[in-house]
Point group: C2
Chain length 205, copies 2
Protein backbone atom coordinates (compact mmCIF):
# COMPACT_ATOMS: atom_id res chain seq x y z
CA UNK A 1 0.00 0.00 0.00
CA UNK A 2 2.48 2.57 -1.17
CA UNK A 3 0.94 5.98 -1.77
CA UNK A 4 1.79 6.82 -5.37
CA UNK A 5 -1.07 9.18 -6.19
CA UNK A 6 1.31 12.08 -6.91
CA UNK A 7 4.66 11.86 -8.65
CA UNK A 8 7.04 11.29 -5.73
CA UNK A 9 7.51 7.96 -3.95
CA UNK A 10 7.27 9.14 -0.35
CA UNK A 11 8.59 6.72 2.23
CA UNK A 12 9.52 7.70 5.75
CA UNK A 13 13.10 7.66 4.59
CA UNK A 14 12.77 9.92 1.55
CA UNK A 15 10.69 12.27 3.64
CA UNK A 16 13.38 12.55 6.23
CA UNK A 17 15.97 13.06 3.50
CA UNK A 18 14.37 16.06 1.91
CA UNK A 19 13.70 17.31 5.42
CA UNK A 20 17.40 17.10 6.27
CA UNK A 21 18.24 18.72 2.95
CA UNK A 22 15.91 21.61 3.63
CA UNK A 23 17.37 22.00 7.11
CA UNK A 24 20.87 22.22 5.63
CA UNK A 25 20.01 24.82 2.98
CA UNK A 26 18.02 26.77 5.54
CA UNK A 27 20.90 26.74 8.00
CA UNK A 28 23.37 27.66 5.26
CA UNK A 29 21.31 30.62 4.07
CA UNK A 30 20.60 31.85 7.58
CA UNK A 31 24.18 31.65 8.80
CA UNK A 32 25.75 33.04 5.63
CA UNK A 33 23.29 35.88 5.58
CA UNK A 34 24.22 36.75 9.14
CA UNK A 35 27.99 36.27 9.07
CA UNK A 36 28.93 36.21 5.39
CA UNK A 37 29.78 33.16 3.32
CA UNK A 38 33.47 32.89 4.16
CA UNK A 39 32.94 33.22 7.91
CA UNK A 40 30.71 30.16 8.03
CA UNK A 41 32.23 26.68 8.11
CA UNK A 42 30.61 23.45 7.01
CA UNK A 43 30.79 22.36 10.64
CA UNK A 44 28.70 25.38 11.62
CA UNK A 45 26.03 24.59 9.05
CA UNK A 46 25.96 20.91 9.95
CA UNK A 47 25.71 21.65 13.66
CA UNK A 48 22.89 24.14 13.05
CA UNK A 49 21.06 21.49 11.04
CA UNK A 50 21.74 18.78 13.61
CA UNK A 51 23.84 16.43 11.52
CA UNK A 52 27.52 15.62 11.20
CA UNK A 53 29.73 17.49 8.77
CA UNK A 54 30.33 14.24 6.94
CA UNK A 55 26.62 13.94 6.32
CA UNK A 56 26.62 17.45 4.88
CA UNK A 57 28.79 16.17 2.06
CA UNK A 58 26.40 13.32 1.44
CA UNK A 59 23.86 15.96 0.45
CA UNK A 60 25.97 18.65 -1.18
CA UNK A 61 29.16 18.38 -3.17
CA UNK A 62 30.38 21.70 -1.87
CA UNK A 63 29.58 24.45 0.60
CA UNK A 64 28.56 26.62 -2.32
CA UNK A 65 25.99 24.12 -3.51
CA UNK A 66 24.19 24.33 -0.19
CA UNK A 67 23.72 28.07 -0.66
CA UNK A 68 22.98 28.11 -4.37
CA UNK A 69 20.67 25.11 -4.65
CA UNK A 70 19.73 22.92 -7.57
CA UNK A 71 17.14 24.46 -9.91
CA UNK A 72 17.06 21.29 -11.99
CA UNK A 73 13.28 21.26 -11.88
CA UNK A 74 12.90 24.66 -13.52
CA UNK A 75 15.42 23.71 -16.17
CA UNK A 76 13.40 20.68 -17.20
CA UNK A 77 10.17 22.67 -17.22
CA UNK A 78 11.76 25.32 -19.37
CA UNK A 79 13.01 22.79 -21.90
CA UNK A 80 9.52 21.29 -22.21
CA UNK A 81 7.94 24.71 -22.67
CA UNK A 82 10.53 25.63 -25.30
CA UNK A 83 9.74 22.50 -27.27
CA UNK A 84 6.12 23.60 -27.47
CA UNK A 85 6.76 27.26 -28.25
CA UNK A 86 9.59 27.07 -30.78
CA UNK A 87 7.53 25.84 -33.77
CA UNK A 88 4.95 28.61 -33.45
CA UNK A 89 7.06 31.77 -33.06
CA UNK A 90 10.53 33.32 -33.37
CA UNK A 91 13.36 31.96 -31.29
CA UNK A 92 13.87 35.06 -29.17
CA UNK A 93 10.17 35.35 -28.37
CA UNK A 94 9.97 31.65 -27.48
CA UNK A 95 12.92 31.97 -25.13
CA UNK A 96 11.36 35.05 -23.54
CA UNK A 97 8.17 33.19 -22.73
CA UNK A 98 9.99 30.08 -21.53
CA UNK A 99 12.07 32.18 -19.17
CA UNK A 100 8.89 33.39 -17.52
CA UNK A 101 8.60 29.91 -16.00
CA UNK A 102 11.84 30.47 -14.15
CA UNK A 103 10.64 33.92 -13.18
CA UNK A 104 7.53 32.42 -11.63
CA UNK A 105 9.57 29.86 -9.70
CA UNK A 106 11.87 32.56 -8.35
CA UNK A 107 9.04 34.85 -7.34
CA UNK A 108 7.41 31.91 -5.57
CA UNK A 109 10.61 31.13 -3.66
CA UNK A 110 11.14 34.80 -3.15
CA UNK A 111 12.44 34.78 0.43
CA UNK A 112 15.15 32.22 -0.22
CA UNK A 113 16.20 34.07 -3.37
CA UNK A 114 16.60 37.37 -1.59
CA UNK A 115 18.80 35.71 1.00
CA UNK A 116 20.80 34.00 -1.72
CA UNK A 117 21.33 37.18 -3.69
CA UNK A 118 22.27 39.18 -0.63
CA UNK A 119 24.88 36.53 0.17
CA UNK A 120 26.11 36.44 -3.41
CA UNK A 121 26.40 40.20 -3.50
CA UNK A 122 28.73 40.14 -0.52
CA UNK A 123 30.74 37.16 -1.78
CA UNK A 124 31.25 37.60 -5.51
CA UNK A 125 32.97 34.24 -5.78
CA UNK A 126 29.50 32.73 -5.65
CA UNK A 127 28.13 34.54 -8.67
CA UNK A 128 30.26 32.59 -11.17
CA UNK A 129 29.24 29.36 -9.52
CA UNK A 130 25.65 30.34 -10.02
CA UNK A 131 26.40 30.91 -13.68
CA UNK A 132 28.07 27.51 -13.87
CA UNK A 133 25.01 25.76 -12.51
CA UNK A 134 23.28 27.26 -15.52
CA UNK A 135 26.11 26.30 -17.87
CA UNK A 136 24.91 22.77 -18.48
CA UNK A 137 21.38 24.02 -18.92
CA UNK A 138 22.66 26.58 -21.42
CA UNK A 139 24.42 23.89 -23.42
CA UNK A 140 21.28 21.79 -23.55
CA UNK A 141 19.14 24.73 -24.61
CA UNK A 142 21.65 25.62 -27.29
CA UNK A 143 21.38 22.16 -28.78
CA UNK A 144 17.60 22.27 -28.58
CA UNK A 145 17.46 25.52 -30.55
CA UNK A 146 20.07 24.32 -33.03
CA UNK A 147 18.04 21.17 -33.65
CA UNK A 148 14.89 23.20 -34.19
CA UNK A 149 16.61 25.45 -36.71
CA UNK A 150 18.37 22.54 -38.37
CA UNK A 151 21.77 24.09 -37.70
CA UNK A 152 25.05 22.56 -36.62
CA UNK A 153 25.66 24.20 -33.20
CA UNK A 154 29.39 24.21 -33.84
CA UNK A 155 29.48 25.69 -37.33
CA UNK A 156 26.70 28.19 -36.63
CA UNK A 157 27.05 30.60 -33.75
CA UNK A 158 23.43 31.72 -33.61
CA UNK A 159 21.98 29.21 -31.12
CA UNK A 160 24.79 29.70 -28.61
CA UNK A 161 24.60 33.45 -29.10
CA UNK A 162 20.88 33.61 -28.34
CA UNK A 163 21.21 31.47 -25.25
CA UNK A 164 24.25 33.31 -23.89
CA UNK A 165 22.83 36.80 -24.42
CA UNK A 166 19.36 36.03 -23.10
CA UNK A 167 20.92 34.37 -20.11
CA UNK A 168 22.97 37.49 -19.49
CA UNK A 169 19.88 39.65 -19.89
CA UNK A 170 18.07 37.52 -17.34
CA UNK A 171 20.95 37.85 -14.91
CA UNK A 172 20.85 41.63 -15.23
CA UNK A 173 17.11 41.65 -14.58
CA UNK A 174 17.53 39.42 -11.53
CA UNK A 175 20.25 41.68 -10.17
CA UNK A 176 18.05 44.73 -10.55
CA UNK A 177 15.18 42.85 -8.94
CA UNK A 178 17.30 42.23 -5.86
CA UNK A 179 18.67 45.76 -5.84
CA UNK A 180 15.11 47.03 -5.72
CA UNK A 181 14.46 44.70 -2.76
CA UNK A 182 11.27 43.45 -4.34
CA UNK A 183 9.90 46.85 -5.16
CA UNK A 184 9.74 45.85 -8.83
CA UNK A 185 8.33 42.82 -10.58
CA UNK A 186 10.96 40.42 -11.85
CA UNK A 187 8.73 39.59 -14.80
CA UNK A 188 8.52 43.24 -15.82
CA UNK A 189 12.28 43.66 -15.59
CA UNK A 190 12.84 40.57 -17.70
CA UNK A 191 10.38 41.82 -20.30
CA UNK A 192 12.13 45.17 -20.44
CA UNK A 193 15.50 43.51 -21.01
CA UNK A 194 14.17 41.22 -23.75
CA UNK A 195 12.49 44.13 -25.50
CA UNK A 196 15.77 46.04 -25.62
CA UNK A 197 17.52 42.90 -26.89
CA UNK A 198 14.99 42.38 -29.67
CA UNK A 199 15.38 46.01 -30.71
CA UNK A 200 19.14 45.61 -31.12
CA UNK A 201 20.16 47.46 -27.95
CA UNK A 202 19.66 50.99 -29.33
CA UNK A 203 20.88 53.95 -27.30
CA UNK A 204 18.20 55.24 -24.91
CA UNK A 205 17.37 58.87 -24.34
Amino acid sequence: MTPLDQDAPLGRRDLRKQQTRAALTGAALRLCSARGFEHVTVDDISAEAGVSSRTFFNYFASKEDAVLGDHLVEVDAMRARLAVLLPTMGVLEAVRRAVLLVVAAMEADRDHWFLRMEIIQRSPQLLPRLVLSNAEAERATTEQIAAHLGLDPVRHGYPALVVATTSAAFRVAATRWMAAAGGLSLGALVDEAFTALAAGLPDPH
Copy 2:
Protein backbone atom coordinates in the same frame (compact mmCIF):
# COMPACT_ATOMS: atom_id res chain seq x y z
CA MET B 1 70.75 56.34 -14.48
CA THR B 2 67.57 54.36 -14.40
CA PRO B 3 66.36 53.33 -17.84
CA LEU B 4 62.84 54.72 -18.09
CA ASP B 5 62.58 55.06 -21.87
CA GLN B 6 59.63 52.67 -22.01
CA ASP B 7 56.87 52.41 -19.43
CA ALA B 8 58.24 49.77 -17.04
CA PRO B 9 60.95 50.35 -14.40
CA LEU B 10 63.14 47.31 -15.10
CA GLY B 11 65.51 46.39 -12.31
CA ARG B 12 67.18 43.03 -11.97
CA ARG B 13 64.56 42.19 -9.39
CA ASP B 14 61.45 43.08 -11.38
CA LEU B 15 62.92 41.23 -14.32
CA ARG B 16 63.34 38.10 -12.31
CA LYS B 17 59.83 38.49 -10.92
CA GLN B 18 58.07 38.53 -14.24
CA GLN B 19 60.37 35.72 -15.28
CA THR B 20 59.25 33.60 -12.33
CA ARG B 21 55.64 34.52 -13.01
CA ALA B 22 55.94 33.44 -16.62
CA ALA B 23 57.57 30.19 -15.54
CA LEU B 24 54.66 29.50 -13.19
CA THR B 25 51.93 30.17 -15.75
CA GLY B 26 53.86 28.19 -18.32
CA ALA B 27 54.24 25.24 -15.98
CA ALA B 28 50.59 25.46 -14.95
CA LEU B 29 49.34 25.49 -18.53
CA ARG B 30 51.65 22.70 -19.62
CA LEU B 31 50.89 20.37 -16.73
CA CYS B 32 47.15 21.01 -16.73
CA SER B 33 46.97 20.53 -20.46
CA ALA B 34 48.70 17.18 -20.09
CA ARG B 35 47.00 15.80 -16.97
CA GLY B 36 43.89 17.90 -16.50
CA PHE B 37 43.42 20.69 -13.96
CA GLU B 38 42.33 18.58 -11.00
CA HIS B 39 45.18 16.12 -11.34
CA VAL B 40 47.80 18.81 -10.93
CA THR B 41 48.75 20.10 -7.48
CA VAL B 42 50.27 23.45 -6.62
CA ASP B 43 53.35 21.56 -5.52
CA ASP B 44 53.69 20.08 -9.00
CA ILE B 45 53.49 23.48 -10.65
CA SER B 46 55.91 25.04 -8.18
CA ALA B 47 58.42 22.22 -8.59
CA GLU B 48 58.19 22.46 -12.39
CA ALA B 49 58.85 26.18 -12.15
CA GLY B 50 61.67 25.71 -9.65
CA VAL B 51 60.21 27.57 -6.68
CA SER B 52 58.55 26.59 -3.43
CA SER B 53 54.81 26.14 -3.20
CA ARG B 54 54.71 29.03 -0.75
CA THR B 55 56.22 31.29 -3.37
CA PHE B 56 53.51 30.20 -5.78
CA PHE B 57 50.96 31.88 -3.54
CA ASN B 58 53.01 35.05 -3.50
CA TYR B 59 52.32 35.32 -7.22
CA PHE B 60 48.82 33.90 -7.53
CA ALA B 61 45.93 33.97 -5.12
CA SER B 62 44.72 30.59 -6.31
CA LYS B 63 45.62 27.68 -8.52
CA GLU B 64 42.98 28.83 -10.94
CA ASP B 65 44.56 32.26 -11.28
CA ALA B 66 47.77 30.70 -12.53
CA VAL B 67 45.89 29.06 -15.37
CA LEU B 68 43.55 31.91 -16.21
CA GLY B 69 45.93 34.85 -15.95
CA ASP B 70 45.32 38.51 -15.30
CA HIS B 71 44.20 40.46 -18.35
CA LEU B 72 44.26 43.70 -16.36
CA VAL B 73 46.29 45.37 -19.07
CA GLU B 74 43.69 44.78 -21.75
CA VAL B 75 40.95 45.95 -19.43
CA ASP B 76 42.66 49.28 -18.88
CA ALA B 77 43.34 49.69 -22.58
CA MET B 78 39.73 48.95 -23.37
CA ARG B 79 38.47 51.51 -20.89
CA ALA B 80 40.70 54.18 -22.40
CA ARG B 81 39.56 53.35 -25.92
CA LEU B 82 35.92 53.42 -24.82
CA ALA B 83 36.34 56.89 -23.36
CA VAL B 84 37.50 58.10 -26.77
CA LEU B 85 34.90 56.30 -28.84
CA LEU B 86 31.73 56.81 -26.81
CA PRO B 87 31.18 60.50 -27.65
CA THR B 88 31.41 59.92 -31.39
CA MET B 89 29.15 56.92 -32.01
CA GLY B 90 26.45 54.64 -30.58
CA VAL B 91 27.17 52.64 -27.43
CA LEU B 92 27.01 49.22 -29.07
CA GLU B 93 29.31 50.24 -31.90
CA ALA B 94 31.78 51.80 -29.47
CA VAL B 95 31.86 48.63 -27.40
CA ARG B 96 32.36 46.56 -30.53
CA ARG B 97 35.42 48.53 -31.55
CA ALA B 98 36.83 48.59 -28.02
CA VAL B 99 36.52 44.83 -27.80
CA LEU B 100 38.74 44.52 -30.84
CA LEU B 101 41.62 45.54 -28.57
CA VAL B 102 41.06 42.44 -26.50
CA VAL B 103 40.75 40.41 -29.68
CA ALA B 104 44.14 41.61 -30.82
CA ALA B 105 45.71 40.77 -27.47
CA MET B 106 44.24 37.27 -27.55
CA GLU B 107 45.31 36.60 -31.10
CA ALA B 108 48.82 37.74 -30.17
CA ASP B 109 48.92 35.37 -27.20
CA ARG B 110 47.27 32.71 -29.30
CA ASP B 111 49.19 29.66 -28.07
CA HIS B 112 48.56 30.31 -24.40
CA TRP B 113 44.90 30.96 -25.09
CA PHE B 114 44.40 27.70 -26.90
CA LEU B 115 45.94 25.83 -23.99
CA ARG B 116 43.78 27.76 -21.55
CA MET B 117 40.58 27.06 -23.42
CA GLU B 118 41.38 23.40 -23.85
CA ILE B 119 41.92 23.15 -20.10
CA ILE B 120 38.75 25.08 -19.35
CA GLN B 121 36.76 22.88 -21.68
CA ARG B 122 37.83 19.80 -19.75
CA SER B 123 37.36 21.41 -16.33
CA PRO B 124 34.17 23.45 -16.37
CA GLN B 125 34.80 24.67 -12.84
CA LEU B 126 37.26 27.10 -14.41
CA LEU B 127 34.77 28.77 -16.69
CA PRO B 128 32.97 30.57 -13.85
CA ARG B 129 36.26 31.90 -12.54
CA LEU B 130 37.01 33.25 -15.96
CA VAL B 131 33.69 35.02 -15.90
CA LEU B 132 34.47 36.38 -12.45
CA SER B 133 37.79 37.83 -13.55
CA ASN B 134 35.74 39.77 -16.05
CA ALA B 135 33.07 40.63 -13.49
CA GLU B 136 34.93 43.56 -11.99
CA ALA B 137 35.82 44.82 -15.43
CA GLU B 138 32.16 44.54 -16.40
CA ARG B 139 31.10 46.57 -13.42
CA ALA B 140 33.59 49.30 -14.26
CA THR B 141 32.52 49.40 -17.90
CA THR B 142 28.90 49.56 -16.84
CA GLU B 143 29.58 52.64 -14.75
CA GLN B 144 31.57 54.20 -17.56
CA ILE B 145 28.69 53.81 -19.99
CA ALA B 146 26.15 54.94 -17.41
CA ALA B 147 28.18 58.08 -16.78
CA HIS B 148 28.42 58.78 -20.49
CA LEU B 149 24.68 58.46 -20.93
CA GLY B 150 23.97 60.37 -17.76
CA LEU B 151 22.01 57.47 -16.31
CA ASP B 152 21.85 56.03 -12.82
CA PRO B 153 23.26 52.50 -13.29
CA VAL B 154 20.92 51.18 -10.61
CA ARG B 155 17.63 52.67 -11.77
CA HIS B 156 18.37 52.14 -15.46
CA GLY B 157 19.16 48.64 -16.68
CA TYR B 158 20.54 49.64 -20.06
CA PRO B 159 24.26 50.00 -19.27
CA ALA B 160 24.44 46.71 -17.41
CA LEU B 161 22.43 45.04 -20.14
CA VAL B 162 24.75 46.17 -22.91
CA VAL B 163 27.85 45.10 -21.01
CA ALA B 164 26.45 41.72 -19.97
CA THR B 165 25.14 40.80 -23.42
CA THR B 166 28.19 41.96 -25.36
CA SER B 167 30.37 40.11 -22.90
CA ALA B 168 28.32 36.98 -23.51
CA ALA B 169 28.56 37.50 -27.26
CA PHE B 170 32.31 37.79 -26.98
CA ARG B 171 32.48 34.58 -24.96
CA VAL B 172 30.53 32.75 -27.64
CA ALA B 173 32.86 34.03 -30.34
CA ALA B 174 35.91 32.98 -28.33
CA THR B 175 34.47 29.52 -27.80
CA ARG B 176 33.86 29.10 -31.52
CA TRP B 177 37.37 30.37 -32.20
CA MET B 178 38.80 27.64 -30.04
CA ALA B 179 36.48 24.99 -31.47
CA ALA B 180 37.75 25.89 -34.93
CA ALA B 181 41.31 25.43 -33.63
CA GLY B 182 42.38 28.72 -35.17
CA GLY B 183 40.88 28.03 -38.58
CA LEU B 184 38.79 31.17 -38.21
CA SER B 185 39.64 34.73 -37.27
CA LEU B 186 38.51 35.72 -33.78
CA GLY B 187 37.89 39.24 -35.03
CA ALA B 188 35.55 38.01 -37.74
CA LEU B 189 33.63 35.85 -35.28
CA VAL B 190 33.25 38.77 -32.88
CA ASP B 191 32.03 41.00 -35.68
CA GLU B 192 29.47 38.40 -36.70
CA ALA B 193 28.14 38.16 -33.15
CA PHE B 194 27.89 41.93 -32.73
CA THR B 195 26.12 42.28 -36.04
CA ALA B 196 23.49 39.75 -34.95
CA LEU B 197 23.15 41.55 -31.62
CA ALA B 198 22.65 44.93 -33.26
CA ALA B 199 19.99 43.44 -35.54
CA GLY B 200 18.00 42.18 -32.54
CA LEU B 201 18.91 38.50 -32.87
CA PRO B 202 16.51 37.70 -35.73
CA ASP B 203 15.99 34.08 -36.75
CA PRO B 204 18.47 33.01 -39.43
CA HIS B 205 17.62 30.99 -42.52
